[in-house]
């Protein structure tokens, strides 16, 4: 910037930036940073929602006791093969990330991230109550497990469906434009509407799915109350609901791929599925990373689908972390304990955010 202009403005670039950023900082601080630290503060207290509202002195500082009550237990021990299936997968994961790094198929950061995830998978399931012991809260870890299962099903489901749809609908015909809009429409619905639609779809008495099964001569599945189907049901509803954004991201990614690549590929006989596998997919790698990480962060916060469609049942199989936090805070009025769980959720999502940040930078190099 020429010097005489800067003098006339009487504001340095730094000052201007600060002023322009101020409104954002104030709102961000007030509505995100402050509540976050307040939440951490509450998690260190025995804090009854209603009692504290009527008498601010009704809370008591308990340090980390809420965390202990939620996550720990009596006589908890660790064994290398306490839950063999998960821990063996963890061990194999660590081996695989090392080998991938050595053979140059994975970057250093990717390998470290994978290795860390595998290490956690080896270490965490090893904790279990020893003789005469028990978890203080026997529902917390199964609830975390359900949430991870939900994320593990919904994220690949959304990603693959959205990618295939985007590939099919990437073009300039009118029909494709109409279909793109149609597929995106579900995204704008609120969770109450989505769950209502799908409750009707899944209803064994009047639902579309039941009618189809009956037409084919089967007896209808009671999706929402059958142990093996309830989680699948909320995953299906979620995929239908959150397809839109992922599809748009993939469409943007597809349009970034140069047509020249396809022309060159066609000369070498790579068309259709081959072209998708050898040209489209590798070029979408970055978009896939973004979509996957965004979806992971989003779906860890699943609440409405579980709360409204299955009430967390049957037998807690669809109980998820945010619903547990909600119930603990509002049904049980135990704000401190609920905040401790919320901080735990924050750590998980924070880890994935960092992962996204790191992966994004690695590609830039």
């Amino acid at each position: 910037m020429p010097q005489h202009q800067a003098k006339r403005l009487a504001l340095s670039q730094r000052q201007a930036a600060l002023i322009l950023l101020l409104p954002f900082m104030v709102v961000y601080g007030l509505f995100l940073v402050y509540p976050f630290f307040n939440g951490v503060w509450i998690s260190l207290h025995d804090w009854n929602l209603m009692a504290v509202a009527f008498n601010p002195d009704a809370k008591a500082f308990v340090g980390l006791q809420n965390y202990e009550r939620v996550m720990w237990g009596r006589n908890i021990t660790w064994g290398a093969f306490a839950s063999p299936a998960l821990q063996v997968i963890g061990l194999l994961g660590m081996l695989a990330s090392f080998l991938l790094y050595r053979s140059g198929r994975a970057g250093r950061v990717t390998a470290i991230a994978m290795g860390l995830a595998a290490l956690l998978l080896f270490v965490l399931p090893g904790f279990h109550p020893g003789e005469g012991g028990r978890w203080y809260d026997r529902r917390f870890w199964p609830t975390v497990g359900n949430t991870i299962l939900f994320v593990g099903l919904a994220v690949p489901g959304v990603t693959i469906t959205a990618m295939l749809l985007a590939a099919a609908l990437n073009g300039e015909t009118r029909a494709k434009a109409v279909l793109r809009t149609l597929f995106f429409l579900s995204q704008v619905l609120s969770v109450t509407v989505v769950t209502l639609i799908w409750q009707i779809m899944f209803s064994p008495r009047q639902g579309l799915l039941a009618n189809v099964t009956e037409l084919l001569g089967g007896s209808p599945i009671v999706w929402l109350t059958a142990e093996g189907f309830a989680m699948a049901a909320i995953v299906i509803a979620t995929i239908w609901w959150s397809l839109g954004i992922a599809m748009i991201l993939f469409l943007a990614g597809l349009q970034d791929i140069s047509q020249d690549l396809y022309e060159a590929g066609a000369l070498d006989n790579a068309t259709g599925a081959k072209a998708f596998w050898y040209i489209t997919l590798p070029n979408l790698k970055r978009t896939i990373t973004v979509v996957v990480v965004l979806q992971i962060i989003l779906h860890f916060q699943v609440f409405g689908q579980s709360h409204l469609m299955t009430n967390g049942g049957p037998n807690d199989t669809t109980q998820v972390l945010v619903r547990y936090i909600y119930q603990t805070a509002f049904r049980d009025s135990e704000l401190g304990r609920a905040s401790a769980m919320a901080v735990f959720l924050f750590v998980i999502m924070g880890a994935f955010s960092i992962l996204q940040f790191v992966l994004g930078r690695e590609k830039d190099e």
Partner: protein, 427 residues
Amino acid sequence: MKHAILGATALALLATGATAQEVTLGRFFGDCENAGTDTKASVGEACIIQSIINAADAQLDGVSVNTLPTDWGNYYDQIKAAYAGGTPPDVHVMHRHRVPEFAGIGALADLTDDLAAAGIDPSDWEAAALEAVTYNDRIIGVPMDFHANLWHINMDLMDAAGLVDESGAPILPSSPEELLEHAAAVKAATGQNYLAADFAQFPLGVRLVLALVWQQGANVFDGDTATLDTAEARNAISAVTQLFDAELANPQLNYADSQQAFLNGEAAILVNGTWVVDFYASEAANTETALSNYYAADFPTLFGDGATWADSHMWAIPAPLKANDPETYNAALQVLAFINDHNIDWARTGHMAVRSSVLESAEYAALPHRNEYTGTADIARDTPPSARYGAIQDVLNREFQAIWLTGKSPDDALADAQLDVQDLLDR
């Protein structure tokens, strides 16, 4: 000119402010769009209560009532969050079982000395109703009903199975063994299920099992001790699960589906509350509904003593309103008095009235099916008072559902429920 307009607006605002004191009202019972103000014509809980509220809004001088949007399933979460945020509704409905939780921390206004001036006579309330709204010897609410689980019966299916006596009343089982026999008889005669209830969503199945536990003189907790893992609980559960095992009842139906099954003539008996008597009576009169011959019976005694799950609806005013805003408090009391005056209209739902004068009236006795469940008031029961009631119900609902929906063994489910309820009582 500008000042004149502003002044006139301010005056107009003052004038309307003086003529109508707005009272915000929170309630569950569901939505009713066009309830009107005729408290004698509406059908079903939602429309009857809304017609009473609309009538209060129209007829009370200087009081306007604004019904806040609330959701049945999350009602208490919403109300508690509103209290915590300092903005509870000026009057709100609640259950007797929530009194320890709300009154225990002083959230509810003490109405004892203000009822008479508002035109509410507590001496007209039944003793059990007065007890329901009393906490530490003070009256903290206005009772509206007793409600309880009934057996709603399709008499045509019962008749086909030979389960109707000479007086035209249904023959109901008096033991778990007889329950199974009756259920098999209905299946053999009609091909339909004997019993339906919401075993999959709301805790109606829990209330059924609880009644059978109480009938054996046991309970699920006593003071600070969980007493769930007992032989009585196993008996109660197996009385129900024997029907599922023999495919004489379907545990996978939720509230709406089980009700639909009953109305479609696919179940001889529906276990549900008093709140649907007028609705089923009107559906039975509807020629398009398969159910045409409806009877509302007391919950039968399968074990030693009669018992059925029961609770009360009541209206309360937040303590801060009484302390900080006497004008709105007085208006809120008028709304409660109006609801209390219309106890007979609320009883049209099928609920039992709380006022002796109403209970003794000819109009009350003439309500449809009323003479069929006169024994219910005497066998009404509930779990002991606890600030953890909601959470305990959820534990029972989860573990019992696990038994009939996922095949968890009763031993494991009761052991887990025992631990969880004890944890809740220990907190």
